[in-house]
């Protein structure tokens, strides 16, 4: 019965009306960026991208955890693969992310590394119990949606006395990255479609600086076509009135203050730190690291891993794409040297990556 309620957010007739309204109200170009991989996929999959008025320029920003994982972070987990007594545990998407010298985790497995793909960080508890003589190292990537699930797993490991689980912590936080994007003058964005599930955790408040400091609009948005259209429509209306606001259109999931319990667990285990993002470089305060009280879980400390600036993949324009400066088909490798079957950069690897979505839905 409630599935029916959710399906109403796809009502084609209502979508058409909003599209017509947008078309009639747009007199100038509007550049909007979504910063969530699931939005990227939703916009293509639902066919919205081809229905949107031409004056809307759609950019996919740094919204996929796989895409923003820095070169140096990729090399760090590739270095760990094959380490004696180490079982790497990871979400499946990281398996094909290219590191230096053509390395990736799939190849590492072929060379004998023990790598286990898990659906949930929770599964690492079982893995650790079953392999008491080994260290299970989970590659922790992702934003505020994923970080609390890992924090909860660490808490459970401690409660259950599991001492052979480690976390290689590369978590990043969304609002700080948006701040960095907005302060870069080369980047020209009129409004943001804000991530629904990150916001379910952090709420709306952390984005208010977007209107206050930069006079741009941003709307927390769900993943159905009507959610997305309504947010765009609002941003057009505000721009026509010369206003900028931060609003929440996903109130069925996102409360004003997010999910306080998840935030509490996340900050019990992690604290903010500086982080390197692919394409965006070092953004102060944009990462999460393991607090000293939880140090025994910290794979970076245990293996002396340092994350530092390192050369980008030759020819790959992922950095410009994540900043919305270039579209995927403006990369010289797109669809030629770089395809989903043979990705050169991470944006072509993850199904939520902009290049992969572009490839799948544009070339079909």
């Amino acid at each position: 019965m409630s599935f029916e309620l959710l399906e109403k957010f796809r009502d084609p007739a209502l979508c058409r009306k909003i599209l017509d309204k947008m078309e009639s109200e747009l007199d100038r170009e509007l550049r909007f960026m979504e910063v969530c991989g699931t939005h990227t996929v939703a916009i293509f999959q639902s066919g919205l991208r081809s229905l949107l008025p031409e004056k809307i320029v759609h950019l996919s920003g740094p919204g996929c955890p796989v895409c923003v994982t820095h070169e140096s972070e990729v090399n760090a987990f590739l270095d760990l693969a094959g380490h004696e007594n180490v079982i790497l545990a990871t979400f499946g998407d990281l398996m094909r992310v290219p590191g230096d010298k053509g390395r990736n985790l799939k190849k590492a497995v072929a060379d004998g590394a023990r790598v286990k793909v898990v659906y949930s960080p929770f599964d690492t508890l079982k893995l650790a119990k079953e392999n008491p003589g080994d260290l299970v190292v989970f590659i922790g990537v992702g934003f505020e949606t994923t970080a609390p699930t890992i924090a909860a797993t660490m808490k459970m490991a401690r409660e259950q006395g599991i001492d052979n689980l480690r976390i290689l912590c590369f978590h990043k936080t969304v609002p700080t990255a948006l701040d960095a994007l907005l302060s870069d003058e080369a980047i020209n964005i009129d409004g943001f479609i804000l991530p629904g599930h990150v916001s379910a955790i952090i709420g709306v408040e952390p984005y208010e600086f977007i209107a206050e400091n930069y006079a741009k609009s941003a709307v927390v948005t769900g993943f159905e076509p009507l959610d997305i259209l309504q947010s765009l429509n609002q941003m057009i209306e505000w721009r026509n009135k010369g206003e900028a606001h931060v609003a929440n259109n996903y109130t069925r999931i996102v409360g004003e203050h997010g999910n306080p319990k998840a935030l509490e667990i996340m900050y019990e285990v992690f604290e903010p730190c500086d982080a390197l993002w692919r394409g965006l470089g070092l953004i102060p305060g944009s990462g999460l690291e393991i607090r000293p009280e939880w140090e025994s879980f910290d794979a970076k400390k245990q293996f002396g891993i340092e994350i530092k600036e390192s050369p980008a993949l030759p020819g790959c324009k992922c950095g410009d794409i994540l900043k919305g400066v270039k579209q995927p088909d403006q990369c010289p490798l797109f669809g030629k040297a770089c395809t989903p079957a043979n990705p050169v950069g991470p944006c072509m690897v993850s199904t939520e990556g902009s290049c992969a979505a572009y490839y799948k839905y544009k070339l079909d």
Partner: protein, 82 residues
């Protein structure tokens, strides 16, 4: 990687919910550890990586549909009628 899906709670046992995704037969388990309060059977959760992140607020869903219809000028309709 971080796909989060809505799913209906079928049963709850010791802080873990068994949920149905879409209308199909597929069920998934979700830890309720991150929720401020336990959901009820029949409620909808947003699940990511084996954890429930939020409970869907039905009233808010209905309210936003109403607001959507209003925004395009059919305050009482469903949007399908003129």
């Amino acid at each position: 990687m971080c796909l989060a899906v809505p799913a209906e709670v079928l049963s709850i046992d010791a802080d873990v919910a068994v949920c149905r995704v879409d209308r199909g037969q597929t069920t998934v388990k979700a830890s309720l550890m991150l929720l401020p309060a336990a959901p009820e059977v029949g409620e909808f959760l947003i699940i990511h990586a084996g954890f429930a992140l939020r409970v869907l607020d039905r009233e808010e869903a209905e309210e936003s549909l109403r607001a959507l219809n209003e925004a395009v000028g059919c305050p009482l309709g469903t949007g399908t009628e003129e």
